[in-house]
């Protein structure tokens, strides 16, 4: 089941050439235990992908492990948070003229074998941003109750804002085409960016599609999200979404080729 809406039209250009230049952007903060596996799995899923690890100021050997595994590594001088790290990757993708950027978390919870699913709508020209959702029937992801409430609330709010049903606003497993890459490279939310990015895409009249994916349970390491921090971020995100309603956004220019 693919969710989509008819307003706006994604670029159909991508569907012509099969030789799309794809990049996998992997934001990583202290993921030395899992980063090697992530790189390996991406390569297994599609060897044509260029893999860029954005090391967000790790204090462990994340960068060294990634380099040894043969990935390109962009090292941030200090921790910028997930938003800054992902945006760095998207700027790399823009500067190196990639057609599609897939974001895969460095903690191995995203299964690179699922990449074709989030890639498909972009290849078909049906979407500018594709989000892999855990809540569209595939896999059995059961978050703790409080987190589930937060996830539901955000999904409800974002669905209202983007006038189409979305289910997994915090999923970081996403694919962007050129238009989304160029938008995000110049304007990407801070801190807890996934939710706001979905709305941003809509406000810029780009096309958003959710596809069902399975995610793994986190491999190494603890989730960095604690209850109070989630509550704080929830408030902050809702504030950002509310204020965003009163901003005016330019329609995107046609991308130059």
């Amino acid at each position: 089941m693919v969710q989509s809406f008819s307003k706006g039209r994604a670029e159909g250009r991508e569907s012509r050439g099969t030789a799309l230049r794809c990049i996998a952007i992997v934001p990583a903060y202290n993921e030395e235990a899992s980063i090697g596996r992530v790189i390996e799995d991406i390569r297994d899923a599609d060897p044509s992908f260029e893999i860029v690890i954005v090391d967000d100021g790790s204090t462990d050997r994340t960068a060294a492990v990634a380099e040894a595994a043969g990935a390109r590594v962009v090292q941030l001088p200090y921790n910028l948070g997930i938003g800054g790290a992902v945006q760095t990757g998207l700027q790399y993708a823009r500067d190196h003229d990639f057609d599609v950027a897939v974001q895969v978390d460095g903690d191995a919870q995203h299964d690179p074998a699922e990449i074709p699913k989030i890639l498909a709508p972009i290849i078909e020209g049906d979407a500018d941003l594709v989000v892999g959702s855990r809540f569209l029937g595939e896999g059995e992801y059961e978050p703790p109750v409080t987190r589930l409430l937060g996830i539901r609330l955000l999904a409800r709010v974002v669905s209202l804002l983007v006038r189409q049903r979305v289910t997994d606003t915090t999923s970081g497993f996403r694919a962007s085409n050129r238009r989304a890459i160029s938008l995000f490279a110049s304007d990407y939310p801070h801190d807890y960016p996934e939710v706001e990015a979905m709305v941003l895409v809509f406000r810029h009249r780009l096309k958003l599609v959710e596809v069902p994916v399975q995610m793994r349970l986190r491999g190494a390491g603890e989730s960095s999200i604690t209850f109070w921090r989630s509550a704080y971020y929830m408030l902050k995100v809702l504030l950002a979404l509310f204020v965003g309603l009163f901003r005016r956004y330019p329609t995107p220019q046609e991308d130059h080729q």
């Binding site: 001088p77 200090y78 704080y232 504030l239 950002a240 204020v243 009163f246």
Partner: protein, 118 residues
Amino acid sequence: MTPLRVSIVAAVAALLLLFVIFELIRSRRLQERYAMLWLLTGIVILILGLWRGLLSTIADSVGIAYPPSALFVLAAFFILLLLLHYSTVISTLADQNRILAQRLALLEHRLEEERPSR
């Protein structure tokens, strides 16, 4: 009971503050994360301005004879909190600034070394 006029002035001031904060965020001159504490300040002042019984209760419980003073004590407390918050933000910025300068200097040095001598 708090004199009505103080309540009205406090409420109007709080609303004004909230509007300015909103406008600053909207025009991207203030990031949400730095606006949170400001919003909390504005909302607390607004609540106390409107809900006059609460302010009296708070004043009584901490032994302040004149309830509006409690409003200003609280306002002062939040200003202190904000200042402390900014001190931590500035510390972080100073640290990051140092790291950037160091990285830039080392990078420049490396470029200088790699340039063929003329």
